[in-house]
Symmetry: C2
Amino acid sequence: MNLKHSKQRDSIKEFLATRKDHPTADVVYMNVRQSFPNISLGTVYRNLTLLADIGEIARLRVGDGVDHFDYDTNPHYHFVCSECGDVTDLNTPVTNQIIKDVQETFEGEIKGQVTYFYGRCSNCIPKN
Amino acid sequence: MNLKHSKQRDSIKEFLATRKDHPTADVVYMNVRQSFPNISLGTVYRNLTLLADIGEIARLRVGDGVDHFDYDTNPHYHFVCSECGDVTDLNTPVTNQIIKDVQETFEGEIKGQVTYFYGRCSNCIPKN
DNA sequence: GTTATAATAGTAACGATTACTGTTTTTAAT
DNA sequence: ATTAAAAACAGTAATCGTTACTATTATAAC
């Protein structure tokens, strides 16, 4: 892979680095446009895909029909609020034991696992 | 919810019941058309969504951009082959311990968990 | 500076899904 | 059996996230 430097890509990475939530391509687009008013949505998608492919960011598919992107590539669990849609990090350590368990009775080759949790986030639980 | 009976819906359920793989709406459409040549794709989608909402079938989102549907609503893990895209059942029992662990340090209310595994299925591993 | 090619902006196309609309089925009450 | 209310339908249009295309611009090695 023969990468060339690009200010737009830098800007996308920089933006992602500032966010602890997990923005969608569209949110990235909206924000990066403040520094690059002419950046195209296609450029955002292409670079997010590229960065995810080379492992510099992570692409999250949490079942809401939209891809989310995470600057933090260390394995960690995510929580998706069924009401507000927010995607947040969980700090429970990730275990790989389950992969070993599954592999025992599975003929193919397991390379990884995706797990996310859903429910109501603290903001969406009615106070009293 | 005030359901009325429909032959089309029956047929969709019947078809799903015969399949151990996890067909997409389009596959359901193709097959149910053999008994109902005029059935519309919208009807298939509407009924799959309805059946999933009332818990008679399960909707699987395994990150391939297409929804899969499962007649078996008992909790079980799925494996997604990264090469051929097949979605298959795993027989490792599902544990809820992880939910309890996560709940300990999480302020919101966790209602469930989605886990799937990916890798190469036995068909896609080169034989020698 | 030249040159090769990666990256871009802008736009068109795509595929999965949902929404709309007028018609047909189902169901329950008469 | 007839009727009436509502659910479901077929057919089609629209939506939405994403990818593909194309002509132009930026990058980087020589």
